[in-house]
Amino acid sequence: MENVSNQQIIDALQGQFGEESIYGIAESHGILQVTTEVEHIVPMLHFLYQHPVLKFQFLTDLAGIHFPEAKGQELGVIYHLHSLENNVRLWIKIYVPIENPVVPTVTGLYATANWMEREAFDFYGIIFEGHPNLIRILNVEDMDYHPMRKEYPLEDATRHDKIDELFGR
């Protein structure tokens, strides 16, 4: 097992894709996170998969997220990668506008991305272009909205016992 530092990953990514397309670099309890543009995500995952040292060959998870205030970047996808050989984790984030939430699929690289992308489509309406079977997975088929988006409140609006202002929140 080689010791791969987070700086090494940043250098490798910036060397391949240019410094301007790797931003939002941060660290959370040792896990590096970077943000990139939508067009780079598939080449980047292939690059990391085939890299002789880094070997990010395990897709742990893929999470959708919704930020209604971030205009033009409302919907996000977070790829949780894990290099089992080096025991290093990495998050790659991409953001797309809610009017046109199209992201290329990574099912060609990871078979496991199939249901993860279907889940993100089901709950956030992110369209994964090229996905073999992009239909709803956990919700009913005739649902006509994407329930995890922030505009859908969870509880009945007629309830008065949970109004935040009444509790000084």
Partner: protein, 411 residues
Amino acid sequence: MSEVALVNNPNVGLDKTPKSGPYVNELTTLNLGPTHPATHGIFQNILTMDGETIVDAEQTVGYIHRAFEKIAERRPFYQITTLTDRMNYCSAPINNMGWHMTVEKLLGIEVPKRAQYIRVIMMEMARIADHIICNSILAVDTGALTGFLYVYQWREFIYEIYEELCGARLTTNMGRFGGMERDLSPVAIEKIKKLLAELPAALKEFESMVVRNRIFMDRTQNVGAISAERALNYGFTGPNLRATGVDYDVRSLNPYSSYEDFDFEIPVGTKGDTYDRFLVREEEMWQSLRIIQQAMDNLPEGSYHADAPHYYLPPKQEVYRNMEALIYHFKIVMGEIDAPVGEVYHSVEGGNGELGFYLVSDGGRTPYRLKFRRPGYIYYQAFPEMIKGSTLSDAIVTMSSMNVIAGELDT
């Protein structure tokens, strides 16, 4: 043609079509589920059959979807523990403590050694209970009911130990942020010692009945096999991955809750078939017993919870007498305490594999986003590939050995 060749060649079913007669090239669609007594849960598989051979399968999931991730965005952190119970309900304490550790990571709470050891004991017992369910029911699915009855009473006994610690059995809601809600009572210690002393005999009896049983071996060997490369590509973790020969275990690769203090081995298989998955789970139970023994022998003195009054729910008797305890109790129960801004990922080795929690906090009283990485959801999508070319009875056994839990699958 032998069963072995059938498994390895997904197209072999097409070769077996009758060459003449009324059923030439006729494929049958068979609905396995949503409620079928042999699938142990609500799963639907639409199978395309050619005679007795499965040509293709399509799963429908989501029958018990309860929108946990959405509900979690409205709930204070303590109230999310009860949601995690209901994911993999066969090993609820692992889910509870995985969630607690995630929040502790966000809050920066240091948990005392004693609490960490008690957690290890409870998590390993949960793992044993989980594996007992999976393996003994696999034996039932192949026709051996007796072994199931021998080991199932020990799962019941483990639930009694849960009751000593938290008062509940199945959906445990065990532990608090910062540690445990109570220390190991003398009764609990007595019961854990009894488990350590008497479970090995029951496990041995079960193994002597099943492991070298000709019928069991014929039903499980080379059935539902998957290669290590495909398993990794499909995101397998836990016993199902280790059965293919990959020794990835979160407990050793990213130790949490003092797992680095314990000496244990990670069993791996070679073929990734149903028999290997069974054997890996059997051996993991022995290793779990080893870990519990070490934790009991070296149980450190000290407090069973962290000194974090903002987050650790005070004991109830204190709430009635002590002003500060009453204030904190109210604030914690009402969810009035804001968490710091941050993003954390924490994973634990659940009964079925890497159980991950990805938590995004915007500084409010509830998570902004909480994503559960459920191992069962991720590896169940490989099921059609694993059963193509095999028979219906093999599909049932494969599904049973994968230990797909409906609650975990559908959140």
